[in-house]
Symmetry: C2
Subunit: 432 residues, 2 copies
Amino acid sequence: MASLSSPSNKGSFVVKSSLIEPDGGQLVDLVVPEIQRAATVSEAETMPKVRLTKIDLEWVHVISEGWASPLKGFMREDEYLQSLHFNCLRMKNGSVVNMSLPIVLAIDDEVKERIGVSNNVALTGPNDDLVGILRSIEIYKHNKEERIARTWGTTAPGLPYVEEVITPAGNWLIGGDLEVLQPIKYNDGLDHYRLSPQQLRKEFDKRQADAVFAFQLRNPVHNGHALLMNDTRRRLLERGYKNPILLLHPLGGFVKADDVPLDVRMEQHSKVLEDGVLDPATTIVAIFPSPMHYAGPTEVQWHAKARINAGANFYIVGRDPAGIGHPIEKRDLYDPDHGKKVLSMAPGLEKLNILPFRVAAYDTVEKKMAFFDPSRAKEFLFISGTKMRTYARNGENPPDGFMCPGGWQVLVKYYESLQAEDSPQKQTVLSA
Amino acid sequence: MASLSSPSNKGSFVVKSSLIEPDGGQLVDLVVPEIQRAATVSEAETMPKVRLTKIDLEWVHVISEGWASPLKGFMREDEYLQSLHFNCLRMKNGSVVNMSLPIVLAIDDEVKERIGVSNNVALTGPNDDLVGILRSIEIYKHNKEERIARTWGTTAPGLPYVEEVITPAGNWLIGGDLEVLQPIKYNDGLDHYRLSPQQLRKEFDKRQADAVFAFQLRNPVHNGHALLMNDTRRRLLERGYKNPILLLHPLGGFVKADDVPLDVRMEQHSKVLEDGVLDPATTIVAIFPSPMHYAGPTEVQWHAKARINAGANFYIVGRDPAGIGHPIEKRDLYDPDHGKKVLSMAPGLEKLNILPFRVAAYDTVEKKMAFFDPSRAKEFLFISGTKMRTYARNGENPPDGFMCPGGWQVLVKYYESLQAEDSPQKQTVLSA
């Protein structure tokens, strides 16, 4: 019977890939060269326009920089069906690449009508600025129910990405080859953190990294995370690597409303490095531009695959990666162990090796985050992201040693600012 | 971008595989040898018992004969997750086999409790007779919602297999290696049609077939089906095959209540051969023991894979294979073209080649089933399975040339018998 040496132990672990070289090692680069830009603009002006939402633009960013390479644009139906049914794409040469999330662009009946028989369309941003072109387009049906069911394993109402993106979207998907006029920028003071896969690869080279281990997160960094990252580095050194570099890689696209906003998280991450919890000399902090699906085992494959494209060769994955509570039942939507199991078996990620980790928790005796020791289970406290946010929101301090003080203060300040906004006085002013 | 030469034309087509040899060419054979039977029975009597439903037993039949080879039993969690997320299993040697449907056995809390820490369980039939053993078991959670969503692409209530099998099932799945005491028999007068993959392979050898083309169906054979099958044979001869053999392979397991029952279908298929619509000399009629999921693009992969295991190397697939109406919306559940597209791209079935077919319909001018000619579309009549059943139910005759008279009479007789059962007089007697 088919079987894999998947880890039987619970908790977090590290997944290793031998450097997978997508598309013959060449990342796609879909930015129109400077010299052709004027001509491309003129050409685009003759084309039917498709207006992108904020999140569509995040995907344009993702595709154009090669995070989803070898994908060269929004998926046509063949790619979409393979992604939905198999979580991977078969390449012309017979090889398989992982592609677990449908990366698609939706349009409504009116836009479809306007496009008519055109072969190419121009893409405009939420402010109607010209962003790029989609060439050799294919328009096909957007069966939302099927997309949601196969991506999330539920159709229960209340999934954040579904509510924000899919439900309001049109009934058609448009695929094609993408060209962008220039690199996507946000002008929010954080663009210097938005390194493309190519820029990251250069940075790893510059630092002479012989191992790169990526840590995906969408929450503030606490000392349990830090323990995991520092212990990974220790293990890599033990295994003979001379210069392992940590890619601390917070997700920068769409997150659900009660997650901590990106600017606050980036400030918090800075403090964690300032406070010396992570070593700035061996850490690169950058933003991963993808929006968040909260699709658990399906999404964690995307998170790993994109980082491999950026040159990471170790990927740390914990309990219930990309998970979320069930939108209408009182339980986790996904089995917390399924993420790492599915990742360890995912097609196109076959060369990942697994280095098991125990789960980290707060040791109430040692007063620090430590690897969970089941022989004295009662002395450990599990503090979830939700619990952490509740502490900060209520102005309570978490136990000593849970997070560095500088990082914690960033969160406290943020939640105080929220409460100020929510205060009845402020609301009165706003509604006046 | 990843792309495949999938056919752009609509309608039916034939898929060819180079003979895929699962498990090193050896089909699993899970029947306990005669000489060990008494010992196995004694051993089983010491084990906790798991009672199978009728449909569980159909799956035991399927697994034990090697239709799902290299699967050696009900899926453990690793197999289940791979099937659910990737529609395929990765083998220890790195190769990939298609496995699109979860083949699982559900148990409830009470049975799980009774099993305790046992390593093996005995399987008993619906009548409490000992059927076999499941060894080295693994028990894991049965998340019904996720299973349904990922298998069918919907969680809408009313899917026949879900209502019959999954909703009433327990909250745990039990996997392990299967042994059956003896080949599964039904004693319904149709067992001689139930040829195992090994028996079919021997039969193809005996007939010196140099090509085997399989036709999956769960409906009576009309002349449109026959046209497709006969035309496939013609094409294979044209391509240089000397002795192509048709495997007419009706599904024999669970079907929805309004489908024509197996015994009636088998009688109808006999008439089609008697009437010479299909050539008995080059046709083998056998029963495929699997239950029907009505899971469209996901299930058609299973239908093709199982027939390849039985030695078929061509698989005919039409419009909307294994499709069904949406249970609560007025539309097909699946895009009618997705089945063949997904099949053509399915992992583990990479070597399938596609021979396109036009769709068959009733030509009202020629008064026969013919390949649809779009240049005179108005002269063609599409008669669905539902429409065909409606004709027979209402005692109406379909247009001349739609089905051979002997075959049609079988259906008429069946629907008359149903009406007799449903008549008020009969109902009064029954309720008295």
